[in-house]
């Protein structure tokens, strides 16, 4: 299958306009030409194409992630400042089974988990079926697994698979 990566070209075009911060005709033409050739060239280096099925699911996911970033920032700040009500934070590793297989979905899951302070992506087994995370304040392992699977993994699977 040798389809032109139209999505990549569009993203590169938008990036070009954002970088230059203008929609002047010259930049539009130059950006379009660049996007076309760069997308075509990189297509040969990276033949794996994302199959985006339901992009509209990305909107509620982005909202949930934003809320979680704010929430986890507050949570980590409380741990740092010792405002956890006398309770000592319990850091620990958790491993959870993953059903998501699409590499683009996994990449986005890694971005989400790193962007929320309090969780760091540690390891993914070779067949991407087991994910290891480190959590700053691990109180209820089952709850973490449930949150990650329901809030992030399910929408990502709906988008990519």
């Amino acid at each position: 299958m040798n389809r032109f990566p139209i999505l990549l070209a569009i993203l590169l075009f938008i990036m070009w306009l954002l970088l230059n911060n203008s929609v002047a005709p010259g930049h539009v033409v130059l950006g379009a030409v660049l996007a076309f050739f760069v997308a075509r060239a990189s297509h040969r280096m990276r033949p794996l194409q994302p199959r985006v099925r339901r992009l509209q699911r990305a909107v509620p996911l982005a909202g949930a992630v934003l809320i979680d970033i704010v929430r986890s920032n507050v949570a980590v700040a409380r741990v740092v400042l010792g405002l956890t009500g006398g309770r000592k934070p319990t850091p620990g590793f958790i491993s959870l089974p993953l059903d998501l297989r699409d590499p683009h979905g996994l990449a986005i899951l890694a971005m989400i988990l790193t962007a929320t302070p309090g969780t760091v992506w540690v390891d993914l087994s070779a067949d991407s079926s087991k994910l290891t995370l480190h959590v700053l304040d691990l109180q209820d392992e089952m709850q973490w697994v449930h949150t990650i699977k329901q809030r992030y993994e399910r929408p990502l699977m709906e988008i990519f698979e």
């Binding site: 911060n21 741990v79 740092v80 990449a107 302070p117 760091v120 992506w121």
Partner: protein, 116 residues
């Protein structure tokens, strides 16, 4: 010092955002300094990296849009690139730390084996 005419609708939210972003980065750095273990210290600077940086970038968008009298968006790209690159370094550091912990444990075990 020259005075810049910054309208209040941009100046007030921008300053609030800068204060929030700065405090988050500061708390994150304090955490880096005083949290007890390496794995715990991993988490705290990412506060300044995510919400802290986000607040500063939104403030920057507000101020430059107000000064140039047209919308300025290219800070979005900084956010995008930061979010895209952060997992790579975080995972590398984390795996390096786990490898070291394992090697040290192994060495200690061998040491006690020789002694006994």
């Amino acid at each position: 010092m020259s005075t810049i005419d910054l309208p209040a609708w941009a100046a007030i939210p921008a300053s609030i955002l800068l204060i929030i972003g700065g405090s988050l980065a500061l708390i994150g750095s304090i955490g880096l300094l005083k949290l007890p273990s390496f794995y715990m210290r991993m988490h705290s600077p990412s506060m300044g990296n995510t919400l802290g940086a986000g607040c500063v970038l939104v403030a920057s968008m507000l101020v430059s849009s107000a000064l140039l009298h047209r919308p300025v968006f290219h800070e979005v790209l900084i956010t995008l690139f930061m979010v895209m690159t952060a997992p790579v370094s975080a995972t590398l550091i984390m795996r390096g730390a786990i490898y070291r912990t394992r090697v040290n444990a192994e060495r200690q075990r061998r040491h006690t084996d020789v002694e006994s």
